[in-house]
């Protein structure tokens, strides 16, 4: 061996393990990498065999995401800007709503259990057991009757519901981990129940809230089926718009599609990156004995 064997215990991985991890990571990252590269390629470069790793980058695809050039040579907006806003707004508001309601409900389930608490929790979870396609018809009809179809309110409520079960379950497990003694201490120190929740519980759960928010956001951000059927022209989200962009006159425009996906990755990437410290703590919450 060229390297001195270090003493056992916790230490950084050696070059061999780092390399293996790197290779596995590359395998996972390869499709994303291909898409990002593709977004910067011209149509010729994009369809070249074998795929080109070195090429002159072009921003044309990104331009085409937002503007279409008509036969007369005019620039016409594609509406993709609005769709991006719709995605951010619908997913953001839906997740926020689910998080607020879910956290309150989870606190209730954890601290003031009902008779048959577990049954209620199970019932809540069953809402996520069916594949979405099964419930899409009744929901579609309900939205038609109530006039929610095609509105922001409709899709936000739907996304909130979509994430609620998950939020309740996840937040409940975080609440269960907290010591109730700390809350009792606060009660004895003279603060009321509302402050116990906001000043004592919530500050301890930032990691849990961040983890729940990120997971919910990723699920919602990529949601396609409900958005396809329940959004209108003005409230369409990016995944739906993306599907529409696939059918061009000259076959699938992979460059354009890659550019949309690349842009589509940015918000969720940014949020995850910003919350990553919280996220790791949230995911490992309770698994490490304090």
């Amino acid at each position: 061996m060229f390297f001195k064997k270090k003493d056992r215990g916790i230490r950084e991985a050696g070059w061999d393990r780092t390399l293996i991890t790197g290779v596995v990571g590359m395998v996972y990252f390869a499709p994303v990498f291909w898409i990002i590269l593709n977004a910067f390629k011209t149509r010729q470069d994009g369809l070249a065999t074998p795929p080109k790793l070195f090429f002159t980058p072009s921003m044309d695809n990104f331009f085409n995401v937002f503007y279409r050039i008509t036969d007369a040579g005019d620039h016409v907006a594609t509406g993709m800007g609005l769709y991006f806003f719709n995605s951010i707004f619908a997913a953001g508001a839906g997740v926020l709503l689910a998080l607020v309601i879910g956290t309150l409900a989870a606190y209730g389930f954890s601290r003031y259990p009902l008779r048959g608490n577990d049954t209620y929790l199970f019932v809540i979870l069953t809402t996520r057991m069916l594949p979405p396609i099964v419930v899409i018809i009744p929901i579609f009809l309900m939205f038609r009757v109530t006039g929610l179809s095609g509105s922001y309110i409709g899709i936000i409520l739907l996304y909130a519901m979509f994430n609620l079960a998950f939020s309740v379950w996840m937040m409940k497990s975080f609440f269960d981990e907290l010591s109730t003694d700390v809350e009792d201490a606060a009660r004895l120190d003279g603060i009321n129940e509302i402050k116990v929740f906001f000043k004592i519980c919530i500050p301890q759960l930032t990691a849990g809230l961040a983890a729940t928010a990120v997971f919910a956001l990723i699920l919602t951000w990529n949601e396609f089926l409900f958005a396809l059927l329940l959004t209108g022209n003005d409230t369409r989200t990016v995944p739906v718009a993306m599907a529409r962009a696939m059918g061009g006159q000259l076959g699938v425009d992979y460059g354009l599609l890659s550019a949309i996906i690349t842009l589509f990755l940015i918000p969720v990437f940014v949020v995850t990156y910003m919350l990553q410290n919280h996220l790791l703590r949230g995911v490992t919450f309770g698994t490490v004995k304090k």
Binding site: V182, D184, A185, A186, R187, L188, D189, G190, I200
Partner: protein, 362 residues
């Protein structure tokens, strides 16, 4: 007056009665220890006084005011929890200021109070740390500091020292006692550690299965345990409780039939009231024996079975037929297993418990 009084305090959880008919009165400046094995209802009693559990029955008075149905904050009590229950997201200084902020005190007053208590408890060095960054002893001191920083009606401690190691426990025991001495508030300390109770309490209430078995001063609890449970629970090594038959009582001395021998022994004169021939239990502490040279009518003879040196003293496990006895002798005494010793009970150290397990006492 900052006193605590509970009357007929009862707590039922479904079919289970955790606390039954507890009556206690703790005067201002008095420290009462609730002592008992795990699950005896002592913590539940404490939580009912604090208002963290609703009473099923009975009344709680704090400072002569009925507290049933009042919230913990309305009761104005300070409590130190077993696991400290520090606010994990707040620094030590913020933890200590928390109860004062809740009372909407001025910042200047909060600062001066916090500084004063921090100095008294040697916490000035760690004021900006989070609870996670503190040692066990420091956490404990912060918990105590948070309780004494305001001026509550009374103090409640739930197993305050159980998480500390032995050395730290001894130091903190002294510190807490000192702090409480200066405050003249009614204080209830829950513990399962009899040494803690015996050293810190003015009075001890021994609990079992939700009932109070005895309330008395540490001295009385030790020397005159009201019944067999208290007798066996208090004291290490625990009291020898020997099944016996009372044959005669005369001139302050009882003739008692043990398994295989008879003994004539000094007992309380209330034993006169017990019929000759009754089954009783003879209780003698392991340290109440002296070893004498020859067997007599006032000695018990037993064989050394096991020798446990404990440093200053030696604990002997002895057998008399089927009956096991524990005897503590000085470390200078040389004994070997299999040896037969003649044990004489020191004057007025023998207790007689009647057939119902109650101490017979004038």
């Amino acid at each position: 007056m900052s006193n605590i009084r509970v009357q007929n305090l009862t707590k039922r959880f479904g079919d289970l009665t955790a606390v039954s008919g507890v009556d206690l009165e703790i005067k201002a400046g008095e420290v009462l220890c609730l002592l008992g094995p795990s699950g005896c209802g002592k913590t539940t009693t404490l939580r009912m006084i604090a208002g963290l559990e609703q009473v099923s029955d009975g009344d709680v008075y704090i400072a002569d005011e009925k507290m049933n149905g009042k919230t913990p904050s309305q009761r104005d009590v300070a409590m130190v929890f077993q696991f400290y229950a520090l606010y994990p997201t707040l620094t030590v200084a913020e933890n200590m200021a928390f109860p004062l902020r809740a009372e909407k005190k001025s910042e200047a007053e909060i600062n001066s109070r916090v500084q004063e208590v921090a100095r008294a408890l040697a916490l000035t060095e760690v004021m900006e740390r989070l609870p996670d960054q503190l040692g066990e002893g420091e956490k404990q001191r912060v918990a105590v500091a948070r309780a004494v920083v305001r001026d509550p009606n009374c103090f409640l401690f739930d197993e305050p020292l159980s998480r500390l190691d032995v050395t730290l426990r001894q130091t903190m025991r002294g510190e807490i006692k000192e702090i409480l001495n200066g405050l003249s508030k009614a204080t209830v300390i829950v513990t399962h550690d009899q040494l803690e109770a015996l050293t810190m309490a003015d009075r001890i209430a021994v609990m079992r299965d939700g009932y109070i078995e005895q309330v008395a001063t540490p001295h009385d609890i030790f020397t005159r345990p009201a019944n067999l449970f208290v007798a066996g629970f208090i004291g290490t090594p625990s009291m020898n409780l020997l099944e016996a038959t009372l044959t005669k009582f005369q001139d302050g001395k009882a003739s008692i039939d043990l398994d295989s021998q008879k003994i004539l022994i000094d007992v309380d004169k209330a034993v006169e009231g017990i019929d000759a021939g009754s089954q009783v239990t003879l209780g003698i502490r392991p340290r109440a024996f002296q070893v004498v040279d020859a067997a007599g009518e006032d000695t018990i003879s037993a064989t050394v079975d096991l020798i446990e040196p404990m440093g200053a003293e030696t604990l002997l496990h002895m057998m008399d037929g089927e009956t096991e006895m524990r005897v503590v002798v000085g470390r200078e005494m040389k004994v070997h297993t299999g040896e037969t010793l003649h044990l004489q009970c020191k004057p007025s150290q023998a207790l007689i418990f009647d057939g119902n397990g109650q101490l017979v006492l004038t």
